[in-house]
Symmetry: C2
Subunit: 258 residues, 2 copies
């Protein structure tokens, strides 16, 4: 994992912390980054509060190759991410002319599904406000663009919109060796195989073997996840784990990525 | 929110960062804490790595009334949370006699569903290893207990087990005024109501109004969440928002907690 690019995600959203909304952005971004060899090493979920956004962004942006934020870039009073990011980078908060043009065209040209024109009012115009000197990120879903400032990608929180934007972010990232994993699930209990599993882990230091028990009587057992960047070693370790599980009388089912 | 107890969650788990596992613990714990008036202000997701666990625990435990961690307290090589927490608190890592007794009784008394006895081997005994001087947290699901060390509650990662343990944690917490919220969802676009919404927010500084657009053509609109601790004010703000949405031709559906 030497010279592997790294990343952190900052989820900005009271609705996640209150439990009202089930986050799905972490898993989605995590998978996409793993597939291009960017190592996601930290996620922070914080409220929509200026000081917290500023401090968190400044806390993590120097520690990772990339930072992705989600949430708080809409048209309403609670959308304070863009302004807070400007403060974090000590840059003026200005009307981005390129973003303004995209928004103008969108709202003036679009006949909405209910047949009426939607006015390009002051609140919508506010979505063009960004830190000075950013690079836009296209929004293929609802048009209002996101932006990149240095190594920080400031994305929408709505999953469908975030996912659309992410397709424009990924090609901008330096990639590493992708991560792959196989999963061996069986009815053997974690405590039964723990010792043998340690031996296999020690034999294959290039992979990380995770053990995830499940316990919903009578459905109890363990999922073993073999994750790494070298396909041959993952395949070999998977075979050893299958044999080990069988040696304890387990009936393994295998989910292979490779 | 003066003197309201606060909390942070630390999710310890490579499987969350890799995107393999969809986290559900944040939303579950978030809801439970909100219901007893504990303000969840931060979540961090970190890998199963000793240094990161130590640094993160020490980074957050002084900033919040409570810290809850999930993950990494099982019987296998990748379960390093308990040992790392001992280092974070600079305490010896010892065999907890009370935990040992619980584990011994469980493994010696239990005839498992496949009819065989499960041996209390060294790996399972390892689950009794904890920092010195902790208070145990009962595990009503799979028995192996968790523990509390000062203001830090170290819980399992498996959702069913974590949820069972949490019922023993909540009564130990100092409570605050509970949080409630109502949700007003309609087909009116966020940008249309943004200005009026700001006026309502300014009128009711005691509640926080969140605006969450959805955009899956033709299903587009906005959910407005009115959250706070004073029921009367939430009810009043909800009525104002319903009237405002209707004034824009919107057809609101209301989901009330109060």
């Amino acid at each position: 994992m030497t010279n592997q690019p790294t990343a952190a995600i900052i989820i900005i959203g009271n609705e996640i912390l209150s439990g009202r909304t089930q986050d799905t952005n972490i898993a989605y971004i995590g998978k996409k980054l793993a597939a291009i060899g960017v190592d996601l090493l930290e996620v922070r979920v914080i409220p929509d509060e200026e000081d917290r956004i500023i401090n968190t962004v400044n806390d993590v942006r120097c520690s990772y190759t990339y930072v992705l934020t989600t949430g708080g870039i809409g048209a309403t009073h609670d959308d304070i991410t863009a302004a807070s990011i400007a403060k974090a980078f000590d840059r003026p908060f200005v009307e981005n002319q390129e973003a303004l043009k995209i928004l103008e065209e969108h709202y003036n040209d679009t006949l909405w599904h209910h047949g009426s024109q939607v006015s390009f009012n002051e609140s919508r115009r506010r979505m063009a406000m960004m830190p000075k000197g950013v690079t836009l990120i296209e929004n293929p879903v609802s048009k209002a663009p996101a932006f990149q400032i240095e190594n920080v990608f400031v994305l929408a929180g709505m999953p469908s919109v975030m996912q659309g934007m992410l397709e424009y972010v990924l090609p901008r990232l330096e990639t590493g060796k992708p991560f792959y994993y196989n999963t061996v699930t069986s009815n053997v209990l974690e405590g039964t195989i723990a010792e043998k599993l340690t031996e296999i882990q020690n034999q294959y230091p290039e992979v990380s073997i995770g053990s995830y028990p499940f316990y919903k009587v009578p459905d109890i057992g363990t999922s073993l996840v073999i994750r790494g960047q070298d396909k041959d070693i993952i395949i070999q370790a998977t075979e050893d784990i299958i044999a080990m599980v069988k040696s304890f009388g387990g009936i393994p089912t295998i989910e292979r990525q490779i």
